[in-house]
């Protein structure tokens, strides 16, 4: 269990910070060093709004260690409004509710715990978009 491995991802985990290519305009999440579209190295931080739609979804029944206490839980690939896909759990939703195209928004939630006295890891999940 390492604190640093989670701490160094705080920009991504808490604020959905990715990068934008200054040359071709591509918006990328997670961050990269080289633009996959135009190979530019000129990438600057870009803050995603955290709004999107479900691209695909599942419900996990047989989970890896550390997550087996939460089953069954829904997970998804979400297509953000700015373009990229993001892998995430869905929250504040029943397991039979998600559908492809469902509007969702980012929230910060507990991702996992490392035992009773261990670290608790927080990060993004997505919930059905609240009505304005």
């Amino acid at each position: 269990m390492s604190l640093a491995k989670h701490w160094r991802l705080q920009q991504q985990r808490y604020r959905l910070i990715g990068v934008q290519c200054e040359d071709c305009g591509a918006k990328l999440l997670p961050r990269r060093l080289v633009c996959p579209q135009c190979k530019s190295h000129n990438l600057q931080p870009y803050s995603f709004k955290g709004q999107g739609m479900v691209y695909s979804h599942t419900v996990v029944y047989d989970a890896p260690s550390g997550y087996d206490g939460y089953v069954p839980y829904p997970a998804a690939l979400v297509r953000l409004d700015e373009g990229p896909l993001v892998a995430t759990q869905l929250t504040d939703v029943d397991i039979d509710e998600p559908y492809i195209g469902m509007p969702v928004e980012m929230v910060t939630r507990r991702l996992r715990e490392h035992g009773e006295s261990g670290m608790i890891v927080y990060g993004y999940k997505f919930r059905p978009k609240l009505k304005d």
């Binding site: 997670p30 599942t58 996990v60 047989d62 260690s65 997550y67 492809i100 991702l111 890891v121």
Partner: protein, 383 residues
Amino acid sequence: MRRVYITGIGQTPVREHWDRSARDLAASSILQALEQAGIDKADAIYVGNALSGELTGQEQLAALIADFAGLTGTEAIRVEAAGASGGAAVRLGYLAVASGVHDTVLVTGVEKMSDLSGPAVEEALATSTDEEYEAIHGLSIAASHALLMRRYMYDYDLERRDFAHFSVNSHRNAVNNEYAMFRRPITVEAFEKARLVADPISLLDSAPVADGAATIVLCSDKAAGKRANSSVEITGSALATDAVALHDRPNPLFLRAVQESAHKAYAQAGVTPKQIDIFEPHDAFAILAALSLEASGLAPEGEGVRLAMEGEIALEGRIPICTMGGQKARGYPVGAAGVYQIVELAQQLRGDAGANQVDARVGMTQSIGGTGATAVTHILRSP
């Protein structure tokens, strides 16, 4: 480049081998292969293995295996590329012989999985995904494939039961393979009723965790001598990669690494997809087999599942796949699977496949890591 022949094969039954460790399984497949090739040593050993550190606490596995097989001192190295470890080891063995660096090498694939149970194995298997952006969200390897399958069903208007035909085919073919783990047929109805592991993927849609080892002997034409005339030849070998995470690919339903490796292998072997008589795909999940058929040019985009529904993947079909049971029914000792595929295809091309014999001259294997980030394609030709 020199020609490369397969002059010996060996395999252990795929089982939960409670009484045998990785070194034991690997060495026994090596001894079988050496005996068949009529040799007692090799220039090098390439060991395909995905998870021995995670699952058994043993690294430096290749040296351990070389020593246990009575080959102490031999050049030996472990090759890791998740589910593609076996295929990647074959690729390195091929390069060593084709390049002229070595004349005779062993390629062994081995995985020992039954020492840990459920969640610990799922955690180990999830290491083939992007740890910081996929595994941290509790996505098991089945869940990642479930995301692909759900979207595929949506895009092509299919139901879960439509995917059953892959598992039904694999189980039917495993009945006649004494090395297979599940030697009993299953029905579409059983597939539909099976317990979900990650919706829409069920137990009967997931290749089972298992122990096993397989070995091949690769020789140059010089080292093979007269045996070359009766040996299967590797005529195409290629490895390609893609982004590890599904979300980092422009279209998750298109396996770019599979396409790249298949087309390089076709070009090297001088064949077109139409000339492939038999195909051993990486059917860890049915969706992966379907997407592989499409990316390899054996089915049009969106038609991979229909090929199975129409019976074209059966032994008597247009493109037989998983002819000895595939990962689904032969069993899936992860890092060994890519070598089992070569062993089984060699059996077919030598005419040693028994009741499952297919009339084939050119065959193809494909070993895939994770959801498609590493793909290794080999094309073999009968003697």
